[in-house]
């Protein structure tokens, strides 16, 4: 039988990360892959509403406390002798969820003459 150990890093508890949940798929402009690219800007309004600007779209979301927290696990390199083990990198207790349809940002609206 396999036994895989999950432990937190010695001497410290896991960090707290934020989860950002989006409906749909994220693609890069020329299909160059997502790694290393700027995704977008995250703003908070005075009322604390999260606003995401991605490309020329704007999305409004809300902050939600997770009833069931997420454990985020990091898989360490396996080698022949050691069995696979995971360390808990982080706990996620809340998320920003963007469920509304992205709106295109139109910066220049021609005025009626």
């Amino acid at each position: 039988m396999v036994q895989i150990v999950i432990s937190s890093k010695a001497g410290e508890g896991p960090a707290e990360w934020l989860l950002v949940e989006l409906q749909g798929e994220m693609v890069s402009r020329q299909n160059t892959g997502l790694a290393g690219n700027l995704m977008g800007d995250l703003h908070y309004t005075k009322e604390g509403v999260p606003v995401l600007v991605v490309g020329h779209h704007i999305l409004y979301g809300k902050q939600v406390k997770l009833e069931k927290p997420f454990d985020e696990e990091e898989n360490m390199e396996t080698n022949q002798e050691n069995p696979t083990s995971y360390t808990v990198s982080a706990l996620i207790k809340k998320k920003l969820i963007f469920k509304t349809r992205p709106k295109p940002i139109i910066t220049n609206v021609p005025k009626k003459v």
């Binding site: 150990v5 508890g13 934020l18 949940e21 994220m26 999260p50 696990e73």
Partner: protein, 354 residues
Amino acid sequence: SAKYCPILTNHKSMESLFIHLIIRGDKDEHAVLCNEDETYDLKIADTSNLLLFVPGCKTPDQLPDISASPQLVHAQIWGFSNCYWELRRQRPRLKKLKKLLMENPYDGPAVGMQEEAPGPKYTMDDLLERIQASREEIEAHLQNVHACEIDGFWRILDFDYEMKLLGHVTQLVDSESWSFSKVPLSVCLEELGSLEPKSMIEHCLNCYGRRYSNEDGQVIYALDEDKVCRATAQLLLQNAVKFNLSEFQEVWQQSVPEGMSARLDQLRGLALLDRSSKPETISLLRIEDLPEDTLERFNSLFSLREKWTQDDIEPYIQDLCGEKQTTGALLTKHARSSVQNGVKVYNSRRPIAT
């Protein structure tokens, strides 16, 4: 490079400072996740949403209330996922534990100069490697099956040997005219130590009695009447398929230590009464001999007997209940009810070959 895997937890203990969890499973088993004392089912769940993990990204409540200049903070997305693992608390799969230990039951020390016959033996670490349960759940079950650690290996006693040990103890109690609740350990070890290893005598007392200290600091045991009578009943019942109920009750009462009362309610989960036959009968039916899986358990019970009253079936399905689930709810889910002779009975929802 590191890979990330999110697990959806549902337990406050996952937030404790030092997390130590273990995923266990054989190739043909569903993986389970265990902490020190609980077992959870692991199931992968898909979502059409994109989950992005952003370390250190702050939410409005965590940012200082500066309405002055706008702040630009760089936050890096560490990874993303479309799926996650869901945990669901489940009862641990412990039937395998007894099965492993029964490969080589212990029936007393080797006679004379002979070594004990070879056979598979398991240490606690071996058991943790083989059983899909947490350490505490395994330890509790070892106590339930009266296993003991001999030379570092966990052994289950051969039942006849266990009864032999109990017989020595109850005969000593009788000849010394002790009260069942005042059995002194030291005298037992002194008087019986020549017949059996002292560790075995003490193990027997631990299984069938409650240990305490008296005013003088001596270790005393209070024998458990229900456990002693129950074991005696098993010894009798395992010798035949069925017994005439009233004959059995007579023999059983005569077999238990004088002063103890043998009562039918002591046999729940051990024996099945048939009050519809003439004469009424009783037979051995141990819950540990039945399948562990819920559906298989119900099929097995309904193939033994077509219709069950709730009172009769309850001891054989009690352990199947999930957290906050009642046996009534289980019966509603897995059985169909009807009324027979004014009594509510349950039968299978599907056709069963009897």
